[in-house]
């Protein structure tokens, strides 16, 4: 059974390992046939990334992804809590409308976003990208976090209120720490959405706010592709997600299944 698991894991990882190996090869080595597993590794592709525009794009990706994730959580988590505790009519309708931004494919929003952004002079700005990702991530945060809060017994915060805590203190000191796994899972999904996005970054940026996924495509020159740099860029793009996922993996599994337990 263990052998089978290892084989399956290797099969699943094979494309990534291939990409990683490519990133340490010269173009000539990449196209050697049959390919060699042992070769003279080079860091030239990574060095070339560092001296190209990719460095700025990578920084842009980090800034935009972290900022949009943090903002989505800051706005979305209290909103999810409020909707969870809403006892009046209309809570469900509001939650459904919040999902509206996810109801159509991104291409449907392209022209309106482009025109509005041009009018507001938000094209090719980090702020513009953060706002776009925020609008999409907010619904994700609310829809993922609301079931967590639904699970938590109201008696917990009521006990805090009896002890003199305010509504905000009850949420901040009692409820929020209990939703750690859910927050981790939601944060990573928000980060992934912003980090991996190609479409909006393609349409709404030019040079200044270009993100890493778009910058990698720019190594596909008209007369020839820079395979080594594409592989190195791809590896660099995978790296933060891998590290982040590894760090929060315990919470991630718990968080992704946590909301499904209710009912």
């Amino acid at each position: 059974m263990q052998t089978l698991a290892v084989v399956l894991a290797l099969l699943a990882l094979a494309p990534f390992l291939w990409l990683l190996l490519m990133s340490f090869k010269t173009n000539a080595e990449i196209f050697r046939f049959p390919p060699r597993l042992l070769f003279d590794a080079t860091l030239a592709n990574y060095a070339a990334l560092w001296t190209s525009e990719f460095r700025n794009s990578f920084a842009n990706s980090l800034i935009v992804s972290v900022a949009s994730t943090v903002l989505s959580l800051v706005i979305g988590v209290p909103a999810a809590y409020a909707l969870s505790r809403w006892t009046g009519r209309g809570g469900g309708t509001i939650t459904l409308w919040i999902l509206a931004s996810r109801m159509a494919p991104p291409i449907a929003f392209t022209i309106p976003y482009f025109l509005v952004y041009r009018h507001l002079e938000l094209l090719d700005t980090l702020t513009g990208l953060i706002v776009i990702y925020l609008t999409f991530n907010l619904s994700l945060v609310i829809w993922m976090m609301r079931p967590f809060y639904d699970q938590l017994p109201r008696s917990l915060e009521e006990a805090a209120w009896i002890d003199g805590a305010t509504l905000w203190q009850g949420f901040y000191r009692i409820i929020l720490p209990l939703s750690g796994p859910g927050l981790a899972a939601t944060a990573i999904l928000c980060f992934l959405f912003a980090w991996n996005d190609f479409f909006f970054a393609l349409i709404l940026t030019r040079t200044e706010a270009m993100t890493a996924p778009v910058a990698v495509v720019n190594f596909m020159n008209y007369e020839g592709w820079e395979w080594g740099r594409i592989a190195a860029g791809g590896t660099m793009i995978m790296l933060p997600v891998l590290v982040f996922s590894f760090v929060v993996r315990r919470y991630l599994v718990h968080g992704l299944t946590g909301g499904a337990l209710k009912g």
Partner: protein, 449 residues
Amino acid sequence: MNGPSRRAVLRGGAGLSALASGVLAAPAVIAQGKPFAGTTINASCFQTTFFEYLKSYFPQFEDKTGIKVNFNMQAFPVYNQRTDLELSTKGSALDVVNATFIYTGRWIGAGWLTSLDAFTKDPKMTPADWAPEDFVAGTQSAMQNAKGETFAFSWEGGAMIQSAARYDLIEKAGLAMPTTFDELIKVCDATHGKEGVSAFTADKLHHWNWIPYLMGAGGGVFKAPPENLTPTLNTPQAAQSGEWYANLLMKYGPDGLLSYSDDQAMRSQMSGRANIRTQSITWMVPLAKHAESTVQKTVRYGLMPSGPAGNFAGCNSHGLGIPAGSKKKEAAWEFIKWALSKETLAMVVKDHGYPSVCRLSIINSREFKNVLTLNGQDVASLYLEVLKLGGKSGYMKYRTVPIYPQVGDKINKAIERIATKQQAAPEALKQAQAEAIQDLQKAGIKVDL
């Protein structure tokens, strides 16, 4: 304490006015030789060596005109996507754009580019020796509308020629560069697998690579483009040619060929894994010149083979134009005029060996002949012959109709289905025909049914 007298104030004021007028007048005097001083234009194109080379001369242009050029390059699909959106919304963010061949029909037809005739016909704006007629007609045809107005000037001509990376294998088999479709098969049969080399290679852009073979076999994509865009993919000629081409790919191509990009096909030749390819000169010259090429000494070139109906080598071009929404059109024209002048192009050819220029005077120059004399072969003449061929009969008009990207996609899929034996050629191409008609009808284009 006495304040300043009225006379002193007036005198001081007059002095200041004189000083101010002198200071303000100064730039106008300085700028007389540079009427565009202080102007910045935004230009954009896909990533290409031509503009990498050209960028090194930008200081000359800026010194001469005072115009600062903010030139941005992106990957081919990225550029096309962004520019299509920018032009379609009549934005003013770009002043000079590359008119991409496959989009010229759409961009010119929709009025998104500025007619350049007003600039070229005004002697104050364009000196006579700039000579618009010096651009090869074949490369300019895609840059004009039905009335003959010009919307862009070509900087790159893509002429489809034939290369044999391992011509030595062909010689060893006692054969020569194939000149007909039948000879191509004969050469492939005789050389395939020799020394581990596949006889033929191509990339997956069948809607570019297959069409010359389709036309050579007497077929076509549309009935009479651009006037009549009824697809003709369900004809016996198309079925026969589709079958023939798919066989060429699968029988003589290296493993994985059906997923090859342009670059992978070129690398398969450069590494000596594959021999013959028919493609634009842009991807052929590196076989002889690229430092990583292992076939520099063995590569030879020839014209695209002819079919029973003739030679229809693919021919395309990319040009520089001005968006309709640009607010700096005169400065933009100054840039295009400089970038594509005889002097600038001569510099790019001389200093960098750029092989795809479109001015006749440059193509016929000694420098250009030197650049494109590869292994003793006069490839410059092949290049010019194909460019002229493309312009003469207008057979490339199928490719610049606005709907071609969608129809081309159906052709790609049909050839893949034939090559992988998912469908027989007649069925695959009938399906492509039906899908293409749907696309045309969705776009409101009338077809004969």
